[in-house]
């Protein structure tokens, strides 16, 4: 009845091996940082800013934020952000009129230049706001981008 053949043993060790590989592959995913769901879910810019702790942010010209004055296609708006602030740790990007204004959070670890470029969707003409946390203080810059074709679908 319950006699283990060599094939059984081989199968068991194979199962153990596969499980070990799965654990090894999945482990890094668990180490990923927790998402600030409050900040991402809020529908108001001010609440999003408060949720990241940046209500006292100072406006600065030491964040270079390249955004188009007019976006031909609201589904693909190319943005470039470069921080000139020492010890830049985190960059947030908000689009004021989007259903949830917080578009992205970039945590910069040692070895990364304080620069990111990304393409976003805009629901409507709006101010785009970049918030930077540098040396434990918050700074921001904003630019108005007008969209000629509305909508944020798909």
């Amino acid at each position: 009845m319950n006699i283990r053949t060599p094939i059984d043993r081989a199968r068991r060790s194979l199962v153990r091996g596969v499980l070990a590989v799965m654990v090894a592959v999945l482990a890094p995913l668990k180490a990923w940082a927790a998402r600030n769901n409050v900040a991402f879910d809020t529908k108001l810019l001010e609440e999003g800013i408060a949720a990241i702790g940046a209500d006292g942010a100072i406006e600065t010209d030491r964040i270079v934020f390249k955004a188009p004055d007019i976006a031909e296609n609201s589904a693909i708006v190319h943005l470039e952000i470069q921080s000139l602030l020492p010890q830049t740790a985190t960059i947030w990007l908000f689009a004021e009129k989007n259903p949830q204004p917080l578009v992205a959070q970039f945590d910069l670890l040692p070895g990364l230049e304080p620069y990111v470029a990304v393409r976003i969707k805009m629901a409507d003409s709006a101010f785009l706001r970049v918030v930077v946390k540098a040396a434990d203080r918050f700074y921001f810059v904003r630019r108005e981008t007008k969209v000629t074709i509305g909508g944020c679908a798909g």
Partner: protein, 107 residues
């Protein structure tokens, strides 16, 4: 399984300029309601919510995204202290738990 990530790296001194394209629908779920002309949630959201970049296996960028990032997301970042033979990795995970990853050796 999503289409593979595409990555292009150029070295500028010791800075690796990394440009990445991640094929993904980035579905907001929103469509215009023909009756009210308002945007309403009609199909399930499906978007990349987490992106991690590594240099020689060490995390250098950890990004959280919303559904407002464009379809087939483009991302550019720059890694200091990089040289030929180093590896740059990019991985993403979406709100359905699907994921993809790519590692590229700098030429």
């Amino acid at each position: 399984m999503a289409d593979p990530i595409r990555m292009r790296i150029t070295l500028d001194g010791d800075i690796a300029i990394v440009k990445v394209l991640m094929p993904h629908p980035m579905e907001t779920g929103l469509r215009k309601d023909p009756k009210s002309d308002e945007m309403i949630e009609t199909v399930p959201r499906h978007f990349i919510e987490h992106v991690v970049a590594t240099h020689n296996g060490r995390t250098v960028l950890d990004a959280q995204w919303s559904r407002s990032v464009s379809k087939n997301p483009f991302l550019e970042f720059r890694v200091r202290g990089a040289k030929s033979g180093d590896t740059i990795g990019v991985s993403w995970q979406d709100n359905r738990g699907e994921s993809n990853a790519l590692e590229t050796v700098i030429k």
